[in-house]
């Protein structure tokens, strides 16, 4: 425990000495353990709502793909699998650096180490968003954005437009989550820079990490369902 946290044990109402309260303990919690457990449980519960939030979109995907499997294959074939795979790898790397950042906080690593891993996580998040931007631009250029200007040369223009509706809805919602994630990481990095985290108190990094990994998991499903179903499409 770093020196700054040591206090002389004060006496409680009954005159017994008791453990000093951690400076970051909010009044309504009994101890830091209860606080940490409440926060991580809260985040897990929040992630369950996220599962069902994205779940509604996956439901739409399931129904429409079930209705027009060939149309979806044809449409998927037009997506750039190299960019998709690259982005998958980028997100996996960022998940690794995130996990290492949590570990750095857990082990009271130097602030430089913590900031390094958090910064890398943020960086890869931004790379992901950059690649996404390139892909979106490409879709605009080729009139693959649903709406009045949508244009499709293949056999299944209607299902293709639907596929791209879902593509933009799903990856768009995912990208919004990435942007929020990068924002959260910025705050966490700043806190790490101020030497907030050590083995006694690292809940914010841990909780932010849970969110980050979740967004990665969504992509783990989006990538094959959107990019890879047309891999062996023969037109």
């Amino acid at each position: 425990m770093p020196d700054g946290h040591a206090h002389a044990a004060p006496l409680d109402a009954h005159g017994h000495p008791h453990e000093p309260a951690h400076p970051k303990l909010q009044h309504h919690f009994d101890d830091m353990g209860q606080r940490a457990e409440a926060s991580t449980l809260g985040m897990w519960v929040f992630l369950v709502t996220e599962i069902l939030f994205f779940g509604g979109l996956f439901m739409c995907y399931l129904v429409y793909r079930w209705k027009s499997p060939s149309g979806f294959q044809e449409a998927s074939f037009e997506l750039n699998r190299v960019w998709g795979a690259t982005n998958t790898a980028v997100l996996i790397i960022s998940s690794l650096t995130m996990a290492l950042a949590v570990r750095a906080a857990q082990t009271s690593a130097k602030r430089g180490t913590q900031v390094f891993f958090l910064g890398l996580t943020m960086f890869f998040g931004l790379v992901f968003l950059g690649i996404k931007a390139i892909e979106y631009t490409d879709k605009f250029v080729h009139h693959h954005v649903p709406g009045p200007h949508f244009h499709w040369d293949g056999q299944y223009p209607k299902p293709a437009e639907q596929f791209y509706s879902l593509y933009f809805a799903m990856t768009g919602l995912h990208a919004v989550h990435m942007i929020v994630g990068v924002g959260i990481m910025a705050v966490i990095t700043w806190m790490a820079w101020r030497e907030t985290f050590d083995e006694d108190y690292y809940t914010p990094v841990e909780v932010a990490g849970l969110y980050w990994h979740f967004v990665d998991i969504v992509w783990i499903f989006l990538f094959p369902l959107l990019y890879l179903i047309g891999g062996h499409f023969k037109g």
Binding site: M98, R103, D216, P224
Partner: protein, 100 residues
């Protein structure tokens, strides 16, 4: 305070490697026409990857039973939504001479 597990750094690298290999496998498998098996394989690999992230990166492996229940219920409810909705779509037209 419950002890939080601190995993060895090596574990994270191993999991990372497995995730990258999994990604490579899906991409490769998608190039081959396996019929309906393509979907099964693709989803199986995706589920395995997601499981790795949840268990190790998100530390569920060392989580409380309550956390397991919370995560499980999320996926279970998703399954309820998928299966009951699809039960409608897949049984359309079973009554002869109608679309229902």
């Amino acid at each position: 305070m419950t002890e939080h597990h601190i995993a060895p750094r090596g574990m994270y690298y191993v999991v990372f490697l497995a995730l990258i290999i999994g990604t490579g496998l899906t991409v490769a498998a998608a190039e081959v026409d396996l019929g309906a098996l393509n979907n099964v394989l693709m989803l199986a690999i995706a589920c395995a990857k997601a499981l790795l992230v949840i268990l190790f990166f998100m530390h569920l492996r060392w989580g409380t039973r309550l956390t397991w229940v919370v995560v499980g219920s999320g996926f279970f409810w998703l399954l309820i939504m998928f299966s009951l909705t699809m039960s409608d779509y897949m049984s359309r037209g079973w009554v002869e001479g109608t679309l229902r």
